[in-house]
């Protein structure tokens, strides 16, 4: 029987689901092999149980936690889709500021006070802290990056259809970057998160003249201290190093510690 596949999203730009829709060449072939039962961004059907659930977005409120736990209980495999789901992405920067301060800064004091008197809408406005999915439920596989890499999505789908475990080598972005023959970003005197960041993106940002901001999250055995020393040796100011660690990694323990 074709596996039942579903897509869900929490706080995110929904770009990772779009990245999947953008696999135009093979989209119809994949759809012949799976039974797509939920994809709110593109379809209106709903189903009670899934074999594979792809979940995009980070978790901010109690109602999000309940929704995630509910769908975890209804799926065999749960895949974190993209940086928001895997490590909190850029919005985790808001964890460095109290929620009430954020509400006031973005919506104004009146709004914050009005919400406090309308109990029907409390749950809407109950933001506490930005968390990746695995801070709340067990995650079976991670598709990293902001946005996800279509080739990794395909590898994962193919593996799961074959009944094998998808393998994503724990190599730093530097490995691919060197293969691509790029000049080292650190040598250019700019900050680079490449040495501690999960590869698999083919160093696309550096290939296009930018740096690695670490959107794919830190490697399991990343030597953070050595990375910081390396950046200092290249005359990068601590302020800039901290700013990079807090750009995409605010929800990771390391993002909080630097």
């Amino acid at each position: 029987m074709k596996p039942k596949v579903a897509f869900f999203d929490f706080a995110s730009c929904e770009g990772c689901q779009l990245a999947i829709l953008n696999c135009e060449d093979i989209l119809l072939d994949i759809l012949n092999l799976v039974n797509l039962v939920e994809f709110r961004e593109a379809i209106s059907e709903k189903a009670p149980r899934y074999d594979i659930a792809f979940v995009e977005g980070s978790i901010h409120r109690d109602e999000d936690i309940e929704r995630l736990q509910n769908l975890r209980s209804r799926t065999t495999v749960l895949v974190a889709l993209g940086a928001c789901a895997c490590n909190g992405c850029v919005q985790a920067r808001s964890n460095f500021v109290a929620p009430a301060v954020n509400y006031e800064a973005v919506y104004g004091e009146d709004a914050r006070n009005r919400v406090q008197v309308d109990a029907d809408f409390w749950s809407l406005w109950s933001h506490t802290r930005v968390r990746p999915l695995d801070a709340v439920v067990k995650v079976d596989a991670y598709l990293r990056g902001c946005p996800v890499v279509p080739a990794e999505f395909l590898h994962l789908v193919k593996s799961m259809l074959r009944g094998t475990t998808p393998y994503f080598p724990p190599d730093a972005v530097c490995v691919e970057c060197k293969k691509n023959g790029n000049e080292c970003v650190l040598e250019r005197g700019e900050t680079c998160m490449g040495p501690i960041t999960w590869g698999g993106c083919n160093s696309i940002c550096v290939n296009n003249g930018y740096v690695c901001d670490g959107c794919r999250g830190t490697l399991p055995h990343a030597n953070i201290q050595s990375h910081i020393t390396l950046m200092r040796e290249h005359n990068i100011k601590d302020e800039d190093i901290r700013s990079r660690y807090r750009l995409f990694l605010g929800a990771e323990p390391i993002g909080r510690g630097v």
Partner: protein, 435 residues
């Protein structure tokens, strides 16, 4: 059906085929409308507060993450705002490349919306998926056109989502001219597909509901305003400078939405493809005007469901204008430019049209070039008030002749016609009918 039986509680939570989470609440009693509410339920992400402390070039790169579908629009608008704050002037080459990147995203977003999100309603199916079996040629054409638009963005941005090749002042890595030439050929080859898109659109039965409102868009003296212009209102028939956007948007909050609302000269206003076509019809390219004519879009048009038609008209405009701009790139070539800049204290406002309407970004920097204040006013948050006003006007008109299911569908279609981008505006949607 006896109107006294028309006591509906319709509650559609997590409306599908829109970007982001929203809810529609319609409550009727014995044929009278008691309550119509559009509630945006998306979680907050607080972009405007967490960009504080970032340096100028980081801002466009990060705020791109406000929305996947209109990431280019957020980048362009933020780029212009930051450049304005720092007093950075850009070259004609940079402006040309930005217009190409901007229009590539209009094609991508409009085509995705029309084919994947709106057309299924008109063909009476739940999604584009069943169409793969019943209308395979439609789905394959949709995928071809979407791929073309995505590749268009990739040529100029380095990738389709959250592009990184562009930055303040110019390009970190210039587009490859061979790829530009290849793209030009593919755009020309896609013209039969575009003509077929217009033909399909023509067969769709658009609900005939009208409500005149204020239409707001950019307006530019020399061109159909997408990348640049001043803020034009159909009410005053005049423009105000982009810097005065706060007088335009007049944002306010309501408890049932995690998005802010806007109003200008009346209770609400409309932004997006229909507003642009209404305000700037004369500046569309002849091919786009012809498409509008074929599709029965006459300006001014007061039917919000026609926004989908206006999107198709803009796709035609962008395709032909794209070929023209690509010729300009190929004719003049591209030269590498220095993208280094000096930081200074200052505030800057930027505005672009993005697929869903006019977008404003506003940043302030201290003398060290650190962002100290930020504000973004998103098309969907400007529109959401107008959608609710439309619902309030249309529900009493629709109620006598429609079943609960038809009414629900028409409310969802209305919301989808606006092509809401809820991630963007939440700082937003679900349909709910309540007794």
């Amino acid at each position: 059906m006896d109107l006294r039986e028309k006591t509906f509680n319709i509650d559609v939570n997590h409306v599908t085929r829109v970007e982001g989470h929203g809810r529609i609440i319609v409550s009727t009693r014995e044929g009278a409308v008691k309550e119509v509410k559009l509630s945006i339920t998306e979680a907050n992400r607080f972009f405007e507060n967490f960009v504080k402390g970032m340096n100028p070039s980081q801002i466009p790169w990060i705020v791109s993450r406000i929305c996947g579908i209109c990431c280019v629009g957020h980048q362009m608008t933020a780029t212009k705002a930051v450049e304005s704050a720092l007093g950075i002037e850009v070259s004609p080459q940079t402006v040309l490349l930005r217009k190409l990147l901007t229009e590539s995203q209009f094609m991508q977003s409009h085509l995705l919306h029309v084919y994947f999100l709106a057309v299924p309603d008109y063909l009476g199916v739940q999604s584009v998926l069943p169409l793969a079996k019943t209308h395979p040629e439609v789905v394959k054409r949709a995928l071809r056109l979407k791929k073309l638009s995505n590749d268009y963005t990739t040529v100029f941005g380095g990738r389709m989502l959250h592009p990184m090749a562009n930055t303040l002042k110019g390009w970190r890595k210039l587009p490859d001219l061979d790829a530009v030439a290849g793209l030009r050929k593919r755009l020309l080859d896609a013209i039969p597909d575009l003509k077929e898109t217009v033909r399909i659109m023509k067969t769709l039965k658009i609900p005939p509901y009208e409500r005149e409102t204020e239409y707001v868009s950019l307006k530019h003296p020399d061109e159909y305003a997408l990348y640049d212009g001043a803020v034009y209102s159909s009410d005053t028939k005049s423009s105000v400078p982009v810097d005065e956007y706060r007088d335009v948007t007049n944002e306010f909050t309501v408890a049932h939405c995690t998005t802010k609302w806007s109003r200008w000269h009346r209770d609400s206003y409309f932004v997006g493809a229909l507003a642009r076509v209404n305000n700037n019809f004369e500046q569309l390219l002849p091919e786009a005007k012809q498409a509008a004519d074929e599709l029965g879009l006459k300006v001014p048009c007061y039917n919000p469901y026609m926004n989908n038609v206006a999107q198709v008209v803009e796709v035609v405009h962008c395709a032909y204008n794209g070929v023209r701009m690509l010729d300009e790139v190929l004719g003049g070539g591209l030269k590498a430019e220095d993208v280094a800049y000096e930081v200074k204290a200052g505030r800057g406002v930027g505005s672009c049209e993005v697929p869903r309407g006019i977008l404003f970004h506003d940043y302030t920097f201290d003398e060290n070039g650190r962002c100290v204040d930020a504000n973004a006013v998103i098309p969907t948050s400007q529109n959401i008030n107008n959608v609710e006003q439309d619902m309030k006007a249309f529900v009493p008109e629709m109620l006598p002749g429609m079943s609960r299911e038809e009414l629900t569908l028409h409310m969802e279609m209305l919301l989808r016609a606006y092509d809401p981008c809820i991630s963007c505006s939440v700082h937003m949607l679900d349909v709910e009918f309540v007794d």
